[in-house]
């Protein structure tokens, strides 16, 4: 535990063991050790598949992926390729003016597919706004997810059937909502054994600063809520690096609340799957919550309106390219005879098809009718709003055959 000795001393002072208050201030480097200073994620990183495609054995986590044979791994590979392809297609379509904005997931495929595939049908996932990969893993059609970015809807998929909550844009809000949902799973008696239900909630490194995320941690700890806090630390909150949010590695935030916190290589789909399964299991059995920090990287801009050249060096991006989440699986499969060239070709073809289908769909998406503005504001009638709607429709009607 030497890498965290100073923080540990601080937080548990014992005679003789406490730094004098006048001790030299820890250097910035010390302070942020384990953050970006160690782009490898540090000694704390749980990893089952290295960037070079080597399988790292783990006494604890191997059992959680014992069922992942070549076929299953090919499935995860395909998921990631398709999701990346769809992401790039959406990004391109935004450039062509077909989407209002796009929030790329490039680089975060393993974190999203690994964790998303760890979920069971009855589990519930609460995304932020970048979890298209998780949505895909939950069976939500990419087409349905594009409405938000096309600005024709705000995400109207069947959240219950898919166990995938609508996107939440206000940073941190969903962490409390997810915690409440998990409390409900517990109150419903769905927690306590292997068949238990659990909730997972996604948020970014930047989000960890928000009060709502803290309150989610407090509530979950106090109510033993079966919720996995899945923090995708992609190193950036728009232009701000992680050290603007924390002195310590983010997974260690859990320490102050008394539940487990763990850092996993977010570019390792096997690691993400194993660790998330492990955490979900804890939740199902009533030992939740758990914090997972998936150490990953946002390879593209924050959104299509962002210009990352203003705040980060391409060097950094290049370094992270070497840790690509898809490439390592390809290498592993190839080297170990888990897949041949025809498989990879086939996946590419499927991905192309997926993207083409998406593109065609987007190009023909219709705008919603104007009166939708008034639809479903309330579940039950509001006389005042009904009147506004009527007036609006009458006004619109006035243009009929006119210039409008």
């Amino acid at each position: 535990m030497s890498d965290m000795s100073s923080a540990e001393q601080w937080t548990h002072p014992e005679e003789g063991d406490l730094p004098p208050a006048t001790a030299a201030k820890p250097t910035k480097d010390q302070v942020i050790a384990g953050l970006r200073a160690t782009s490898e994620g540090g000694a704390d990183l749980t990893q089952l598949l290295t960037p070079e495609g080597e399988r790292v054995p783990s006494q604890i986590f191997d059992p959680y992926v014992a069922d992942i044979d070549f076929e299953a791994l090919r499935g995860l590979y395909k998921d990631m390729v398709i999701v990346r392809r769809a992401d790039r297609e959406a990004n391109a379509m935004q450039r062509q003016g077909q989407l209002g904005i796009w929030v790329p997931l490039l680089g975060q495929e393993a974190a999203q597919i690994g964790s998303g595939r760890a979920l069971r049908p009855n589990d519930m996932a609460f995304p932020s706004y970048r979890e298209h990969g998780v949505g895909y893993a939950r069976g939500v059609s990419f087409k349905e997810m594009l409405g938000l970015f096309r600005c024709t809807s705000m995400g109207e998929w069947d959240y219950q059937a898919h166990g995938f909550h609508p996107y939440t844009i206000v940073i941190g809000n969903q962490v409390l909502n997810a915690t409440g949902y998990a409390m409900g799973q517990k109150f419903d008696g769905k927690v306590g054994d292997d068949d238990g239900e659990a909730t997972i909630v996604y948020f970014g490194d930047g989000a960890t600063s928000q009060g709502d995320v803290h309150e989610g941690f407090v509530w979950a700890a106090v109510y033993d809520a079966p919720v996995v806090f899945f923090c995708q630390n992609n190193q950036w909150a728009i232009s701000e690096p992680t050290e603007r949010q924390s002195r310590l590695p983010l997974y260690q935030r859990a320490r102050g609340y008394g539940f487990p916190g763990i850092r996993v290589d977010g570019n390792d789909v096997l690691g993400c799957l194993a660790v998330t399964r492990w955490a979900l299991e804890a939740c199902r059995h009533g030992n939740g919550p758990v914090l997972i920090e998936a150490f990953t990287y946002r390879m593209d801009a924050h959104t299509t309106t962002d210009d990352p050249t203003r705040y980060r060096l391409s060097d950094e991006v290049e370094t992270w390219k070497l840790k690509d989440p898809i490439e390592r699986v390809r290498v592993y499969l190839t080297r170990n005879g888990g897949a041949d060239a025809s498989f990879f070709e086939q996946v590419e073809a499927e991905a192309d098809e997926f993207a083409a289908d998406l593109r065609e769909f987007v190009f023909t998406m219709e705008d919603p009718p104007p009166e939708r503005i008034f639809d479903n504001v309330y579940a039950e009638p509001s006389a005042a709003l009904d009147k506004q709607r009527e007036e609006f429709l009458a006004y619109l009607g006035g243009f009929e055959g006119g210039v409008h």
């Binding site: 809807s153 705000m154 995400g155 109207e156 998929w157 069947d158 959240y159 219950q160 909550h165 609508p166 939440t168 206000v170 809000n173 962490v175 409390l176 909502n177 997810a178 915690t179 409440g180 949902y181 998990a182 409390m183 409900g184 799973q185 109150f187 419903d188 009060g211 709502d212 309150e215 989610g216 407090v218 509530w219 106090v222 639809d375 479903n376 504001v377 309330y378 579940a379 039950e380 509001s382 006389a383 005042a384 709003l385």
Partner: protein
Amino acid sequence: MSATTQPNVDVPASSTVQNLTIGKAINLGLRAAMEKDSKVVVMGEDVGKLGGVFRITDGLQKDFGEQRVLDTPLAESGIIGTAVGLAVRGFRPVCEIQFEGFIFPGFDQINSQVAKLHARTQGRIKVPMVIRVPYGGGIGAVEHHSESPESYFAHLAGVKAVTPSNPVDAYWMIQQAIFSDDPILVFEPKKLYHMGTLKAPVDTAAEPMPLFASKVLRTGTAATLVGYGPTVKLCLEVAEAAAEEGNELEVIDLRALSPMDLDPVFESVRKTGRLIAVSEAPSEASLTSEIAARVQQECFYSLEAPVLRVTAFDTPYPPSKLEEHYLPDLDRVLDAVDRSLEW
């Protein structure tokens, strides 16, 4: 049992009629809702053993257990935000905000999730939650304990808001709000919670009036007074005093704050030609502004004087030794009535 044999006296428990304060009526309303539907959960700070600082949840944890009545950690965003999650899961959470001044840490969740989830998902997600907010002044309290923030929530599309002024409404409104599939804020006039003089017989077997309807409490022709929550009592007292001077005022209890039911107000103004709106909230960009704006439009040719407003001033709530000057009172409303009549 007839009203004549037991006027204003506690009635036997077996009866469906009970003589209640507003506070007790809400307590019984909550209890009735919890009995009816096991998905109703009450949550907030100190709502358990203590029964809330106003004792509105008194006895509920004892009878329904800690999983139905939750003493939550101390954070309002947490209360509202987890209630949203419970609502998504199928519960009907009833959140207590300890005092209105402490609703603001939860404002973001109310604005961004509570008010918008239904529209965002085009009805796939319902948020049938209630936020109970003791509000209003006149209790000699310290800062943040006497405000009237209801206008913020009237401006916020996606939530609804109501406020009772009497025990019958108190008993029913809370239940109607709980069983509505919309998120509803119930603003509870805390000054009136335990006011014995407001005790009234509540028939728990009666048919409640609609939740989003205002109500004419007294008819008159000289001018119309509209109030809500804590100012309804005041309006009635003003009408009493005005009547002694020969001016019969019409008094309307708004009851619903958002959406407001202004048709009875329009109708009344068409008759009286004069309207005074009374509220404990500051006036700027408030509910009373909205009332004035809509009445001047709907009753343009009927108004014989402009709509006048008697409200708190556009200042922070003062030290409570001054609240009698800050809040509308009999004299100030009467003064406005006079000004209206003399316009």
